[in-house]
Structure formats: C-alpha cells, structure tokens
C-alpha cells in the first residue's frame, strides 16, 4: 500500500491518506469500534466531497480497523432522545452528502460491520470484505429499525428473504455468507486484505475517470427506474463517452495491443 503522511483532511477520528490516485479514508475511533458519531460522519463526508473535487484522486477507499469497519452509531447519545431531538439533529441527513460523491467509493470491510456501519458500507459503490468480516443490522434489538438506508439497500443487495431475516432478528452473517448472497463482491484473507484492496483500488484508478462515473451512474439507475428508462440512460452515457479523449485512447491502445493511458478527459 502506498501512503503518505496523513492528509490535511484528517481529523482525530478520520485518517486520510493518498497515493497513486487512491485516497484512503480510515475510520479511527478504535475505543468505540468506529461507531459513527456525528463528528466522524461530518469528517468523512467533508473529506469525501473534497477528494471528489480533487483531480489527482480517482478512487476513494473507506476502511476501518482489522477489528471493526464500524460497529454502528453512538447509542448513548440517542438513548434519551425524542423524535424532535432526532429530527433537529438530523444526523442521517449527513449521509445524503455521500450520494453526491461521483468518484468510485470502495467500502473495505474487516471485522464488525453493524448497523450504521453496514449502512455506510452499502452506501458505497463497491463492497469488499476480509474473511473476518461480520455484517448485521441489529437495530431491532434496541427497539428501532435501520435508519440510514439499511432496509432499502440491504434488500436490494441480498433480496427480501435474507434482508427480512437479518433485520427482524438482528442475525449477523459472516463474510462467506455475504459473498454468497451478493452483499460483497470479493473476500480476501485478513492477512492480505489491505494489499488486495490497494490493488483493486489501483486497478480501478487506472481506468478512464469519465467512464467510471458513467458506469456508477448507470448501475445506480438500475435501482431507481424502469428497465426501459435505465437502458435509455445507459445508452445515452455510452454514446456520450465517444466524445472523450479517453475513449479514443482506450480503443487505440486496444488495437495497438498496449496498455491505455487515460487522462480523465
């Protein structure tokens, strides 16, 4: 993994590093198993939006510690809250800012990925896991339900049966089950996890940035439109990409049997 000194975007709870066009956003509240406090979510979304605007960065990786990606929210802060308190704080609104990030966001999950942590991972474009990862939406045990997209994104990812099972019982699933049910795309041994994530991120970072953006937008459309509209949206983006230098370079390099060098235009 190539990293440099912690970035100016870092806070006490979030360590940001960059290298090779990849930015790493490392959740860093070890004592709280990276519970997603409002300040951590603010730092994370601030950093993600700033990096999204930085042309040097092509891919972002959200990662936790070996022990925990993120084990939910700060329960103590919420325990005595009224609906008015919750609505006034509206910390979940912070999450909407993540949806404005256009560059690929990779959630790299090792250890506990529960509640808000699982919702954060699912809010990313790509979800990969270490073999020690554990996923769950245990909110039901606290007398509530997932509130930051869990009921929606988990259902879209794994289907109704497993989503209901996990959300109604609080049952947790391991990395292997998560892979089998399509919640994550790849699982690596924890020993080599960060290396493999770095390689994956570098591989994506080497692709044409405009194509990456059109691709993530098109895939996301699949969840929000009819098939006909989605196919239209896809086709428009496909044709549109022929206006980019990177399309010319990509196809030329293919014909010349050499690696393409994409410039992001």
């Amino acid at each position: 993994m190539t990293t440099v000194a912690p970035d100016i975007l870092s806070t006490e709870e979030l360590v940001v590093t960059r290298g090779d066009a990849v930015a790493w956003l490392r959740l860093n509240r070890p004592k709280a198993l990276n519970a997603l406090s409002p300040s951590l979510m603010t730092a994370l979304t601030d950093a993600a939006l700033a990096l999204d605007a930085d042309p040097e960065v092509r891919v972002m990786v959200v990662i936790g510690s070996e022990r925990a990606f993120a084990a939910g929210a700060d329960i103590k802060e919420m325990a005595e809250a009224t609906p008015v308190d919750m609505l006034t704080r509206d910390t979940i609104a912070l999450w909407d800012r993540l949806r404005r990030v256009r560059k690929p966001l990779v959630a790299a999950v090792s250890g506990f990925c529960l509640g808000g942590g699982c919702e954060l991972a699912m809010a990313c474009d790509l979800l990969v896991a270490a073999d020690n990862a554990v996923f769950g939406q245990p909110e039901i045990n606290l007398g509530v339900i997932p509130g930051a997209g869990g009921t929606q994104r988990l259902t879209r990812a794994v289907g109704k049966a497993l989503a209901m099972d996990m959300i109604l019982t609080g049952r947790q699933i391991n990395a292997r089950e998560a892979l089998a049910h399509g919640l994550v795309s790849r699982v690596w041994p924890i020993e080599v996890f960060e290396d493999e994530v770095a390689e994956l991120a570098r591989a994506i970072a080497a692709k044409a940035p405009m194509a990456l953006r059109m691709a993530t937008e098109s895939v996301d459309k699949a969840f929000e439109t009819s098939l006909a509209e989605g196919l239209d949206a896809e086709r428009q983006r496909f044709y549109g990409l022929f206006a980019t230098e990177d399309q010319k370079e990509g196809m030329k390099a293919f014909v010349e049997k050499r690696p393409a060098r994409f410039v992001g235009r």
Partner: protein, 272 residues
C-alpha cells in the same frame, strides 16, 4: 505422598484449570481429576478464557493441552435427572458454550498439541481431535462414546474424525463407541505419536518447545492454510496459499531464515 497431592492444582484466576508458561510453551491442564475432567460450566468458561489469554500473550508460541489424573477428558458432565434428559437444550448449549472453545482452538494462530495422557471419551475425543497434533499414552484409549447414550458425536468430532481417519473408520468408531487403542489410533492417523504412559506430557512438551522455537507467524498461517485446504478446490487453495505466503514473506522470521540459510547456520526465530 498421596497420588492426589502430586496432581496439578488449579491456578488463579481459574478454578478448573492449571495454566503454566515455560520456554514459550503454555501448558493448560484440565483439573477436575475426581470427575475424569468432565466439563462443567466453570470449565467451559475457564478453557475459553485460558485459550484467549494464551492467544493474546506474545510470550506464548505453542500450547499443550492435557488432563490431570487418569483421564484426559471424559466429555460433558452427564449428571442429570434422566426424566429431564429430553428437555436438555443441548443444541443451544453446544452453540453458546462449547463452540467458542472449539472455534478458538482452530482460529488461534499458534500450534496446539493435545497430550492425551489418559482416557478421552465423548467430547474429550472432540477436544483432542480439534488440536493440531496429538501425543497419546500407549496404555490408554479413546472412545467416541456418544452413541452409547443415544447421542451422536459433537463439538466437531464428526468433522475432525472424517478428515483424520476417513468416513468408514469414523462411522465404525462413532456407531459403536468401541475403544480405539493407542496403537490403532496411531496406525489410523488419529494421533501423531504414542509413548509409554508417564512420558506423554514430556513428549508433547518437547514437540511444543520445538514448535515454539519456530517461525510462529508462519506456523499460524500454515494452520490456516491447512484448514482451508480441507474445503477448497485446487485453484482456490493455490490462491489462498499465495496470500498466506505473501504474509509469511513479510515476517522478520522469514528474513532471518534467508539470512541464516545464506550463512549456513540455524535460524534464530523470534516469532515476529
């Protein structure tokens, strides 16, 4: 001196185990000799806590598991009212109390050797089989006795037996509950070494000392790779090996191994 006086006594904070660490080897002794080291709730909690402690302790680089007295371990303590036997929540007890112990034995990245100095019965067999290697006393035996009370092997014994000795022999032992002698256990591959009674602990400790002087992290990776091999297909295992090997290649012990090889001297591994 009576025989009881020379038996190891439980060491705090445990009430059912004696744990000692010597030359980077932790020895965990089950200490309920009057109950043939049968597991009660305290021993389940103690053993899980002890395994976690030796896993965390960087001074420990190998583990020996043995029993005090005549038995290695006679399994679950069966004292109960027969009229209530059918109400026993066995499944839940296994999942909640026993499985964490057995999963810890497999996931611990340090070698664990069972010193089977006396009889292993029922879950006691499961316990010995869940370790990485076994040294057994020539005069003793194992019995997968579950079927004799109308149960089937648990705590992974159906899994470990099948893999260690094959399905045909596993069925024979589990379906009859017959005694498996040390001699046959060795011939079948259920144990690694048989020595005269009284020398088991020392033989196991000797093996553990050799392993404890080895490249500990590589041994942990080896353990994980072998466990993975049991279930993986060949291409998957090749990939898995490459991941474990990449990790091993980053250890200080690998650098020392290469250096010692070049200098034609024995390596001095530190476990780092």
């Amino acid at each position: 001196m009576s025989e009881a006086a020379i038996l190891p006594a439980p060491t705090a904070p445990y009430t059912t185990l004696a744990v000692s660490v010597d030359e980077a080897v932790a020895c965990i002794t089950l200490c309920r000799p009057d109950k043939m080291n049968a597991f009660d709730d305290a021993m389940k909690a103690d053993l899980l806590a002890a395994l976690k402690a030796v896993e965390r302790d960087p001074a420990v680089r190998a583990v020996v598991l043995t029993g005090a007295g005549r038995a290695f371990c006679s399994g679950q303590d069966l004292q109960m009212d027969p009229d209530k036997a059918n109400d026993l929540p066995v499944g839940r007890m296994l999942r909640e109390k026993y499985h964490p112990i057995f999963e810890k034995l497999r996931s611990m990245p340090k070698p664990v050797i069972a010193a089977v100095q006396g009889v292993a019965a029922g879950m006691g067999v499961s316990l010995a089989l869940a370790c990485d290697m076994r040294v057994m006393a020539s005069e003793t035996y194992m019995t997968v006795a579950f079927i004799r009370i109308g149960l089937i092997p648990d705590c992974g014994a159906t899994w470990t037996l099948t893999r260690l000795i094959g399905p045909g022999r596993a069925f024979e032992l589990a379906a009859t509950g017959d005694r498996l002698s040390a001699e046959k256990a060795l011939a079948w591959g259920a144990v690694n070494e048989v020595v005269p009674s009284g020398q088991v602990l020392e033989a196991a400790m000797q093996r553990a000392r050799v392993l404890a002087a080895g490249p500990t992290r590589a041994l942990g990776l080896l353990k994980k790779a072998l466990d993975n091999a049991i279930e993986a297909d060949f291409p998957t295992q090749l990939l898995f090996e490459s991941h474990m090997q990449q990790t091993a290649a980053r250890t200080a012990d690998f650098a020392e191994g290469v250096r010692a090889f070049g200098e034609k001297r024995p390596p001095q591994f530190t476990g780092a």
